[in-house]
Structure formats: structure tokens, C-alpha cells
Amino acid sequence: MEPEIRVEELSKSYYPKQRKGIFKSETTEVEALKSVSLEIKEGEVFGLLGPNGAGKTTLIKCLTTLLLPSSGDAWIHGYHIEDQENEVRAAVGCMLMGERGLYWKLTARENLEFFGALYHLSPSDRKQRSEEIIELLHMEEIADRTVETYSSGQKMMLAFGKSLINDAPVLILDEPTNTLDVPAARELRGLVRELNEAGKTIVYTTHIMSEAETLCDRVAIVDHGEVIEMGAVPELKQSLGRDHVTHIEGVIPEQARAAVDRLPEVTKVATAASNGTTRLSVVSSDGRVLLPKLIEALTDNGALLQQIEPEQVTLEDVFVARTGRTLSEDTRVV
């Protein structure tokens, strides 16, 4: 099946001027994207991860026709990004620049209806969709207030709502939970999941690993303009080949401990006892596979479990392992 988004060897270079005093300047080349290739399947939630300045937004800007690539090709929903610009734009709902993409002197309703017009919706469709979006985002009470009176979170939610106005098959969301508080971010992720279940393909950029882990089917980790790792989240974690440690506390008789020892996935078990409870630290190559077997072996042999703490390998660990840096580091070169 044809992928919903196909990117082939996409490169993008800028030529910013470096100022050398008042009158002199020097043009330098900055390679923001270096031969990026990827495919995103229809109905997938695809995460683009990377630190600030990694090239995520440049990639999105190329895909949404805001920037022309220096070389390479890309197709969205079957349309070529350079030859069929308007078709690509119609096929994509995009949240970029967050709250800055709104007219602050207009109301939420006026903003939505204006952008609806730019997507060629008829006046009645504009009104209907704006109403649906306002309802979806629970903004009924503030919909007729000018955006300048909103909190940052409300502005971000409206910017997200704006990306839905054309009901596009592909949604591209650039750091959509920036400036949102925890409940609002959770609500937005829930909506993203719901839209995905309704059939939309979603490209989601973030530098927050937990967000990518809970939301994305597959991710590409971008650094210095290159895709350094790509795959399903569990696969990427697995690829580290790191031992997993699961800590278990409770009343654990000797036969239960022995049963754990006999599990083929277990490479090592450490035991510590205090105040009548035992703490087992179980080392294995794959904690996720082991966990149900571990619980079964313990409970079948009379153990009373009080606490289970699997030590998680995160996507941040994958990034650190590949680059030697953390995701919070800024890698901007422009």
C-alpha cells in the first residue's frame, strides 16, 4: 500500500549571513536537513523527536510547502510537495507556530471561520465546523472573546482547533502541548488519539519523550538534520540491548524465589530481606516479556506481592545512547 507520507532524500540548506561588525558580513551554509528519507503509513501516529534545532520544524515546513527543499522529493496523500502545492495544503491540517498563528484581535469563532474560508469551505460549512471545534475544545464560553484575552493554554488549544478546520486526512502538529498545563496537555493528547482512531494520519513533533511514548506508533529521532533512529517505540528501546531490572517487594517464600530463578529470561536475581519482607531485583534482557511470567511464577508459589517497579528504558536513553547528549540540549546552528 502507498504510504500516506513519503520522503526521499530530502535536504535543505540555508545561507544565513554572519555579521562581522557593522558593514561586513559573510554568507555561510547551514545544512538543516541532510538527505532525510522516511515513510509514514496511513492511520499512523508518527513522532518526530529531537532536541531544539535538530531539524524537525524544517522538515515539517518542507512537507507543508512553506519551504522549498534544496534537493529530494516528498509526497503527502499522494501529492508532490513542489508540483502540487495546493493539493498538499488541502490534504494537511497543520499546527505550527502555536498561538502566533492566530489573529489576537479576532475572536476564536472569527479566526476559525476566516481560516475555513481560506480552505475554500462554504460559509455554512465554516460556521458548522467552527461550532463543532469550539464544542470539541469546550470553548463555548470564550468563543466570542478576542484571542488576546485568552490564557496561553487556551490560545494553544485554539491553534490546535484551527488545524482541524479543513478536516484533512493528515494532521501535522508541531510541539502542540507547549505552554499547556498537565490536564490540558492530557486532553489534547486524548483528542489526537481520537482523531487518529477516526482515520487521520498524524505527525507529531515533540521533545517530550513520555508524550511520544504514550502517543506514537512509530518515531524518528532527528539530530543535526539527520534521522538517526526510526521504528516502533518498543523496538527502539529493545535495540539498546540493555538489561532490564524489575524490583519486587513482598512476602516471598524460598520456593517462589527458586521459581523466578528457573525462568529462562532471567539472567540474575538479587535478594534483600528486612522487617519480614523480601526485595527481589530481577535482571532480564526484556522486562516487558518477563513481567507477566514473573508475577505468575511468584504468585503460583505462594508469594504475596506488595510492590512491582520495572526500571524503564526510555526513548531519552535511546537518544543518549546514539548521540551522547540529552534531549534537553539545544543543538541549533542557525
Binding site: N86, Y103, F114, L118, Y119
Partner: protein
Amino acid sequence: MSLWPEPAARCQKTQGWFELRGKPSLRSKLSIVVATAKMRLSLVSRYKGQLFIEMLIPIVFASIPIMLGRATGGDAAAANFESNTGTSDYVAYMLIGSVTFMIVSYAFWLVGYWIRFEQETGTLEAIYLTPTSRFWNAAGISLYSAIRSILFGTLSYFVGALIFGINPFRGALLLAGMFILVGLVPLFGMTLLFGALIMKVREANSLVNMMQWGVSLLMGVFFPILVFPPLMRTLALAFPPTWMVNGVRSSLLGVGYFFNEWYLDLAVLWAFMLIAPLLGYAVFRRVERGIKRNEGVGQY
């Protein structure tokens, strides 16, 4: 079609706009023009005080040469003026020049500055993400500029006439309106060229300020272009607002058309109308593409 399908419809492939409705019709494109103009009128309606002040500016602007003329011209001021311009009513002459200049100036600020305005508010990329040709956006901004400037220009003219004690209903008002309407189209084309320059150099304020002085000089806001040296006169005649202001003055005050007949002067504006917007848009597109090749339209 509902925005969010019912659960039974989920997992079916959603469709893009073009698949659902085909290519946008002319009606849909014209709807964008109206929506853009309406949006900008809504925006400016939130600054009511500014609108009131703007209406007064042409009157104040015209007052300076009128008072100067009264102070320095003496008893023979009107006769001297008539020998050079074709009308003894220098007050109406200045007021018409000032109001027409306001309309031209609005075009430079509102249409030429449009891209920069969107860049500064942060909404330019949001507009570029939509499947709308910039031509229709620019047409919407031009419509907004036309509505705002004609409305306030007309108000200014009548209030100014009341203040200076002249008859605002003399002459062929409809023909004067025709010169303004026809003249606006090539003017908007020129301002698109100017907008392209602003996109390129990313400096709007000083460019618009400089252009305003140049424009007011070339179009002959307070004097006939016949007083220019030959080279400057030729340059002024290649400039649509010069024909616009002379057309309005000739219709209302009878100062004389450049080609003696109103329809010939109007034909020149029609010719400008056919060339200037296409040329302006072509240059604009070229500059826009160059910018997209480099750092993108949102950068400033």
C-alpha cells in the same frame, strides 16, 4: 460531512478537500476575497479612535498649503493659481489632492505592507499553509483597502468642504468616483511590487515613509505636474496615481484632462489596470519563491 465521523465510519480512509469537492470554483475564490476583506475590517474596527483620527489627517494635510497660499498669495492668489492650474479654487484643489493622496497612501500601507503585517503578527505562515493562491489574498486585502480608503476619503472630503466652506457637490462626482475606482486597480498592482520589495529587504516602515514622499511629489498632490522639468513630468505620467488625481480634479474642478477628453484619460488608466496587477503579481511570486528557497516566508 461531519468533522468527526461516527464510530461506525471510523477506520475508513478520510479524504482531502480536493477529493471531496474537486478544484475550487471561482465563486469559492471570490469568497476568499470577501472573507479576507471582512476579516481585516473586523480587525480595524477594534481601533475606532484610530479611524476617527485618520479621517482628519487629509484635512490637516490640505490645511498647510491652503493657509500658506492665503498668507503668501495675497489678493491675486486665486488668479495666479488659475493661470497655472486651470481653476481658481485652490482650496478644493488642495483638498482633492490631499484626499486622493490619502487613498494612494492607504494602498501602500495596507496592500504593500500586508505581507510584513502578517509576518509581524505571526499569521503569515498560517495563511501560506492554506490552499489559497496569494493572488486572492492580495485581492481581498485590496478590497479592504479600497473600502476603507474610499469610505474615509469621501468622509474627509465632505468634512473638509464643510470646514473650508466650499461646495462638495460641484462637478461630475460620479466621473470622479470612476477615476478613483479604475485608478485603484493599477495602484494595487504597484503596491504588490512594493510588497515584494518589502519582503526582500524586510524593512517596511522606512520604505513606506520614503515612498509616501516620492508618491506625493510625483502625483502632484498640491500642484500641477506641468511645473515639473520634462524628465520628471514623463516619470510622473508613467505613474497611475498622477492620472487618478488629475482625473478627479478635472471631473470636479475642470482643470483639464491630459488628453483633453475624460474617456481618453480613463483609457490610459484602463491600460495601466491591465498591466500593473499582472506585473506586480509576477514579481511578487518570483520574490516569494526565492524566499521559500532560502529561509522561508515566516522569517523576519
